[in-house]
């Protein structure tokens, strides 16, 4: 599927275009969860959310992430990775977590969730206190306190589902809506959760580690970089290559992308997936149709050069101070080719008379 670059656009559409959303899939270390939290803080601030909303999103996110880290000891293989999804649509936030759990735990968990969902606000508060007391007495820990907290903070019912992985494990999905007002229609909730389950399946197959969809600016760039840094903590050279290419790709969007429907910045999508011995970095953004031909020529030119000519071109550009502004150094595309050691794969998808959706993919091999 990923051989077809339209995947990026499909993903972009599937993630509801300009609405903020991002997904992390993989091992959740303390470092990774901290960075996901920073990324969310940055975006909540960007959107100018009220402090009430910020606190709610924040606490539900923390509980959800802890839920994943607490239970991920059971997983060993890539395809059993946990997933964290946050979405923003029309003043509401949606947090979904998915993690493998042992089949034996399902009945108890279902019982806890149904109990929580049956309670109204005041009852929930009492229930929280009694569970907290029991906990302190028995020193058992857990016992669904996190779940009660999520239900209380969201002010909505918790939606959940399970999906069988094998005879021992299932995925446990928990979907929480955070809004200042009441729940949306139930059928929307079910639709969204089904959508995420399907998406998780695709992401598992394609081994996608991170998807970010939203406004691409320097703050988000820095946060995304630090998530990847944490994720790849052990592979120095590879990490730096991925890091370098990510910087160039994302800064390209920040500087040269065009905004569509919004004046807040350039929206786009960025995702990383890993196949065999390669990392694929993919980005997609809107671009004014007038720029298409010129950009195409530039990429084709860079793609046509061999290593030696590429280096010469880089050196020439390094000393070309005609191109030296806050916007452009003229080195980005050459760097993508040099560092990835592969040709740049790209596509322009015409959306209307004014805009196209420009996607680009670079591939970094482990042993390169």
């Amino acid at each position: 599927m990923l051989n077809d670059l339209s995947f990026a656009f499909q993903l972009f559409e599937g993630m509801e275009k300009d609405n903020l959303s991002y997904i992390y899939r993989g091992l959740f270390t303390q470092g990774v969860t901290d960075k996901i939290i920073s990324l969310t803080e940055t975006n909540l601030a960007n959107f100018g959310e009220s402090s009430k909303m910020k606190k709610r999103v924040f606490s539900i996110m923390v509980e959800g992430l802890q839920n994943i880290t607490r239970h991920q000891d059971v997983l060993s293989q890539d395809e059993k990775s946990g997933i964290f999804v946050i979405q923003q649509k029309k003043n509401r936030y949606y947090i979904t977590t998915g993690n493998p759990i042992a089949k034996d735990h399902i009945p108890k968990l279902t019982g806890q969730l149904d109990k929580i969902n049956s309670l109204e606000k005041e009852e929930l508060k009492k229930f929280y206190k009694s569970v907290l007391n029991d906990n302190m007495m028995s020193n058992k820990g857990g016992a669904g306190l996190g779940l009660i907290e999520m239900a209380r903070k969201s002010g909505n019912k918790l939606t959940y589902d399970f999906k069988k992985i094998d005879d021992e494990f299932s995925y446990f999905y928990l979907y929480t809506e955070i809004s200042v007002s009441q729940n949306t229609e139930d059928k929307d909730v079910i639709y969204s959760l089904t959508n995420i389950k399907q998406l998780h399946n695709i992401l598992n197959k394609e081994n996608v580690l991170l998807i970010f969809n939203g406004l691409l600016n320097q703050d988000n760039l820095i946060n995304l970089l630090s998530i990847i840094e944490e994720h790849m903590a052990h592979a120095l050279l590879l990490k730096k290559r991925v890091f370098n290419i990510m910087v160039e790709m994302l800064q390209n969007i920040v500087k040269h992308g065009d905004s569509f429907e919004t004046d807040k910045g350039n929206s786009g999508i960025f995702f990383i997936n890993k196949k065999g011995n390669s990392y694929f970095l993919n980005s997609g953004n809107y671009i004014n149709n007038k720029k298409v031909d010129n950009l195409k020529l530039k990429i084709e030119h860079v793609n046509s050069l061999d290593d030696k000519k590429l280096n010469k071109f880089y050196n020439d550009r390094l000393f070309n101070f005609q191109i030296d502004s806050s916007k452009e150094a003229g080195l980005g595309l050459i760097e993508l080719r040099l560092k990835s050691k592969n040709k740049i794969v790209y596509n322009f998808y015409k959306i209307n008379d004014k805009f196209s959706f420009f996607t680009i993919r670079t591939c970094i091999e482990y042993n390169a």
Partner: protein, 123 residues
Amino acid sequence: MNDLIIEATEETPKIFFKQDKNEFCISERSLPENAVEFYTPIFEWLEKYKNKPNSETIFDFKLDYFNTASAKQITKLLLLLEGIEKSNKVKIRWFFKKGDLDMKSSGLRYDKLIDINFELIEY
């Protein structure tokens, strides 16, 4: 001349210039969106320093990463130092972490392109 000290951020390097101690160092990472803007005060400082440089300037680069926008500013910086070398001694020390082939090859590139006393140091 006053020291120029700028603390590092997640996107900009640490700048540590002390003429009286003869210490000049750029370290950490450099990936600002607007590199021209970040490097402007650094050039201004060095332009002044150029008028009364130390008899030997030892200038250290100890960077972890830099983006292409910064690559061009580093070129400009090295050219400025090359200018100082016409009248006074200048030595560039380009540090790279053991195994960091990318930072090493960036050093080799500058060494080849800029006519200045240039030393690559693995650490």
